[in-house]
Amino acid sequence: MADNGLFVYGIVPSDVEPTSDAEGVGDPPAEVTVVRRGDLAALVSEVGLGEPLGRPADLTAYQELLDGTAAVAPVLPVRFGTVVTGPDAVADLLDAHHDRFAEALDEYEGRLQYTLHGRFDEQALIRAVLADNPAAAELAGQVRGRPEQASREQRIRLGEIISQAVELRRETENRELVDALAGTSVANAVRPPSSELDSVHVAFLVDGDREDEFVDAAEEFARQRIGLMRLRLLGPLAPYDFVSAHQLAG
């Protein structure tokens, strides 16, 4: 056991059973098993401690396992890369935090995360910003077609104006998205933008029996913004963005 550890995917109620073909991290993919302790359990698989993890296939395996589990049972994702010494360590872990884990699992029973991620159409966005900012439009006219070195200062000034306008726009869009979907979701978490053209990025926790209403409301939000942004719906997912309140101090 010295050279092996247990990769911990997530905490689940003890009546969760991995299917025989569930694949974990590693190459070849490890078999996913469950370590039970009373009414709690952890989804785990063996990993060699010398084996590097974090390949795209590992991340995908981790997410698919957790998302697939979330579709049938509540699951608390454990941070990717968490490896413990063995089943005893898992049992200790479940004992030590039993009440918090049990409470969190109750909270996520029947609930799923959906993430909405939008990206502005570059042309539509820049057009709108220039139309609202005569100073920016004038600068744009001055730098257009000139090499960066010859117009660097103006470009930086122009870009800063646009950047601030886009940030405001993003805040507004995120707020409107949250408002539009608050009625069909139980919680939300605004996420940081992942590109300068991000328009919205919000995770929502949704009751399983209101998924259709939620998706309809998201579709309506997207429909109202056709041409301005592309909106993608990711999910259903495990509640990745809602477990931070359950983080345990080291």
């Binding site: 059973e17 590097p52 390949r55 995908t60 697939g68 994702p77 968490t82 820049i126 257009r144």
Partner: protein
């Protein structure tokens, strides 16, 4: 209910659907730095994870970002009509911007640098280990009958 893995607009709707297989950038953003953090006492340590070092987020206020935005104005197609729902937002392009339309076609056409390269950058960084990413579909754990 199943894991939605269909990318692209569904049923001609405005909303695109993506799932676990919709791209590495999505996976990285969805799962990295999330989840319950376990006490150090019971953890033997984190196995080396190259991807954790990758910061998928863009620092929004930086000179580089400013220059990217300025470059977008270079790419702006001033002759294109505003479309549909945008009309109200776009209003009219100011005279200053319109003046320079003439003769800029070549420059605009030549601007090829892409923004939003998060996915590609990640792909490159991890390219050496991508080979065995199978994208395999797998069953999820099922709940036992109570």
């Amino acid at each position: 209910m199943s894991v939605a893995a269909n990318a692209g607009p569904a049923d001609g709707g405005a909303l695109e659907r993506g799932g676990a297989t919709s791209g590495l950038a999505d996976v990285v953003e969805t799962v990295l730095d999330k989840g319950v953090v376990i006490d150090a006492q019971v953890t033997v340590g984190v196995v080396g994870i190259p991807l954790v070092e990758i910061n998928a987020r863009v620092v929004v206020s930086s000179i580089e970002t400013y220059l990217k935005f300025a470059e977008m104005t270079d790419r702006l197609d001033l002759s294109a009509d505003a479309e549909g729902g945008l009309a109200g937002l776009v209003g009219e392009v100011t005279g200053a911007a319109r003046e320079v339309t003439a003769g800029l076609g070549d420059t605009v056409g030549g601007a090829t640098r892409q923004v939003g390269g998060t996915a590609r950058e990640l792909g490159r960084t991890t390219g050496d280990v991508v080979d065995d990413a199978t994208g395999a579909v797998r069953d999820r754990p099922r709940r036992r009958e109570r």
